[in-house]
């Protein structure tokens, strides 16, 4: 009886334990299935469903003839799911000769045990990608990724700009027009198998990417190439610190070429290095400098237009000019006696410019200078545009003597784009055109075309014509038996040299200059305005010997390129027969 009772007890105990175990399991099940339902549901969803961003193609930047300057191209990049790789050493030995990567480096990458895919090699050439594909390896895969390419090489590198590793614009047009170029990435939310691959024909949510818009520039790549070559040659010849050339169509304000040195190679490996990043800016719009004598064009335009002087107005040039407690002298001492306004430009007389400005008076002088766009950004669609510096009579730090110094481009700073815009107004008969570099934006959202914008009539057409003739005489007058550096045989061109000392904290550095030249042609129907700036040439400081020849070399190639017939064809033929 006692034995039976004992057995029953054991039975009860076993039953109780079993029930208890089931109860624990049931409660755990309830906890997991009901209490923690959302958490585990989310985990399962995350494992089975994965969202992937589909990058949008960045828009192409093209020159005026639709030649690509920057284009996004897909290349396959090789990734590995390292968690699934059993023998990384063997795999490394197979891949290393194809990828042209040391075996050891690959082994290290393949031995990394991480959930995220490991990048083995970026942007493979098509042949290499095909070789990898033929291997039919499970644990590695190719994924297409965009790379920004520059088919024209270094051409217009600063203008086009740089795209960062994250695909966003960092400088130039890539930065300024980033919102248009970037497009909108899409996404794919799809069910994945255990290997992370999308399950075929499973339910998926696909949002297509919207590609970026293409930019068509006003830049002519032939003009750009000519400009860059001549600038490079001048930089080398004069061992200069920096240089900028800008070419504009005076009738439309379209920028035809813009180049600066030093520059960078957009395909170089050190593109993001500390030495290269400072070169990203576009000096033609960002660097303001004291223009020196090229500013006399604006002074003379103002004085002529206001009727303060005529080309024949003469004054006594005895080597110095006193005004408002200061004395103006020429760069090279000269006291030629009576001097006309035309001779003022031909000889680049500071005294003559000061005479014209003071005859005009500060109110009218600064009113004209502002009308020409000096002291304010031009509004060109490029990043980092500087307004320059222009002190007005209303400014507390303005001194009456500033009128005299400003007249020949001292104490005022301008950007090359401001000067080119202002001189274009002289070339086209007095119309100030807004400079622009993007003529068309073409994308999935539509097409926008930018037309020339007339900002103001700053001087009368007659004034522009008179000043043009004066500037032609600057180039065509033979001084001391020497033909001027900017003269192109057979064509009438107009222009002005400038040699400005570099301002320092204690005054001006006499051993460092900015040699410049600005001109246009042919004067009968100007096709271009060219501005050349060479900073700190080592061999000779003068604009006449440093910058004017660059203008001549560029102009002599652009004139036939634009189909401009020579005004004096015999001169061209005579010159060519002498060769």
């Amino acid at each position: 009886m006692h034995e039976l009772h004992k057995q029953k007890w054991r039975l009860y105990a076993l039953f109780a334990i079993t029930v208890g175990c089931f109860a624990v399991l049931a409660s755990r099940l309830v906890y997991i299935q009901i209490v923690q339902h959302d958490h585990f549901y989310a985990m399962a969803q995350e494992e089975h469903w994965r969202s992937e961003e589909i990058p949008a193609r960045r828009g192409t930047i093209m020159d005026s003839a639709s030649n690509p300057l920057a284009i996004s191209v897909s290349f396959d990049s090789l990734y590995a799911n390292t968690l699934q790789i059993d023998d990384p050493d063997k795999l490394a030995e197979v891949l290393a000769p194809i990828l042209e990567v040391p075996v050891l480096e690959l082994e290290q990458k393949l031995s990394l045990k991480q959930a995220a895919p490991v990048l083995l090699k970026e942007h493979l050439p098509a042949e290499k990608a095909d070789e990898i594909r033929k291997l039919r390896l499970w644990d590695i895969y190719l994924r297409p990724e965009y790379r920004r390419e520059h088919p024209q090489g270094k051409l217009a590198a600063q203008l086009v700009g740089v795209v960062g590793r994250d695909g966003n614009g960092l400088s130039g047009l890539e930065l300024k027009w980033d919102s248009d170029l970037a497009g909108k990435p899409g996404s794919l939310l799809a069910e994945r198998d255990t290997g992370g691959e999308e399950i075929a024909l499973s339910a998926a949510e696909y949002v297509a990417p919207v590609d970026g818009s293409n930019l068509v520039l006003t830049i002519d790549r032939t003009v750009q190439m000519i400009v860059e070559r001549e600038l490079d040659a001048a930089m080398q010849q004069h061992q200069a610190a920096a240089g900028t050339v800008l070419v504009m169509d005076p009738y439309t304000g379209a920028i035809l070429a813009v180049a600066s040195r030093p520059s960078f190679d957009p395909e170089a490996k050190d593109l993001f290095s500390a030495e290269t990043v400072p070169l990203y800016s576009i000096p033609a719009v960002a660097d303001a400098f004291e223009p020196g004598s090229i500013f006399k064009i604006i002074t003379m335009a103002a004085a002529l237009d206001a009727g303060a002087v005529t080309p024949e107005t003469a004054f006594m040039n005895n080597g110095s000019f006193s005004y408002a407690g200061g004395v103006v002298r020429n760069a090279v001492w000269r006291a030629p006696g009576m001097e006309t306004m035309t001779q003022t430009l031909q000889r680049s007389s500071n005294i003559g410019a000061a005479f014209a400005a003071t005859t005009l008076g500060p109110e009218r002088f600064y009113s004209y200078v502002q009308a020409f766009g000096i002291g304010a950004p031009t509004g060109i669609e490029l990043p980092g545009e500087s307004p320059g510096i222009l002190r007005l009579p209303s400014s507390p730090d303005w001194h009456p003597f500033d009128l005299a110094t400003n007249s020949f481009g001292q104490g005022v700073s301008v950007t090359p784009i401001q000067m080119v815009t202002a001189v274009s107004a002289v070339a086209n008969g007095g119309l100030l055109m807004k400079p622009y570099v993007v003529k068309e934006v073409d994308g999935p959202t539509g097409r926008r075309v930018y037309h020339p914008t007339l900002m103001a009539q700053v001087i009368r057409p007659e004034t522009a014509a008179k000043l043009t003739q004066m500037l032609v005489s600057v180039i065509e007058t033979v001084e001391d038996g020497q033909v001027r550096g900017a003269r192109v045989a057979g064509y009438h061109l107009a222009g002005k040299t400038g040699t400005a000392e570099v301002p320092t904290e204690s005054g001006y550095a006499s051993d460092r200059t900015i040699a410049s030249f600005i001109g246009f042609g042919p004067v009968e129907s100007p096709r271009f305005v060219i501005m050349v700036t060479i900073r700190e040439p080592k061999d000779t400081p003068w604009g006449e010997t440093v910058a004017a020849p660059v203008f001549r070399n560029i102009a002599s190639q652009l004139l036939p390129y634009f189909g401009a017939a020579p005004s004096v064809p015999e001169e061209v033929q005579a010159m060519e027969s002498r060769r």
Partner: protein, 164 residues
């Protein structure tokens, strides 16, 4: 003896027996049907999965050819770059012209529209102020008045004696 007949035909007992007698036949049929349906489903699922992976494969191939196409376009652009064209031209013995001959011809309407002179005229027209327009209008009336005056003079006023 009262025989209980529920309805004409079979009694309850016989009907149940008849239904049970169908069971050995119906059950295997149902089983076979279920298996067939299952097999059909499996086959369809397999075909769908295979087709799906084929579609994926074709999509990957399409993507591959799209990439190749893009890369070839890049290659074309690189081959058309000015540096490369110049290098090839020099290799072929070409160079800058030593002498130029200038020939003038009449421009077509399209060429004229593109020319700087036409652009200048366009700009001049767009920059004409209101005052200029009034002045132009006055000039137009002046011309008309001059014409009228001339007409009256020649028609109604006595002609000068040719002998004088």
């Amino acid at each position: 003896m009262s025989s209980e007949v529920l309805r004409p035909g079979l009694s309850v007992g016989r009907r149940a027996r008849t239904q049970l007698s169908h069971l050995p036949v119906a059950f295997p049929i149902a089983l076979v049907l279920a298996m067939l349906i299952g097999l059909l489903y499996l086959n369809q699922a397999s075909v769908v999965a295979t087709t799906g992976y084929e579609v994926r494969g074709l999509e990957t191939e399409r993507q591959h050819w799209q990439i190749r196409n893009e890369q070839l376009k890049l290659e074309i652009a690189q081959l058309r770059s000015l540096d490369r064209v110049e290098t090839e031209a020099r290799r072929l013995g070409l160079g800058p012209p030593e002498q130029r001959l200038f020939v003038t011809r009449k421009a077509t309407a399209e060429e004229w529209a593109r020319s700087p002179v036409a652009q200048k005229q366009q700009l001049d027209r767009s920059s004409v102020s209101v005052d200029d327009e009034q002045e132009q209008a006055t000039e137009w009336w002046k011309v008309l008045l001059d014409y009228a005056q001339n007409w009256v003079t020649t028609r109604f006023l006595p002609k000068p004696d040719p002998g004088l």
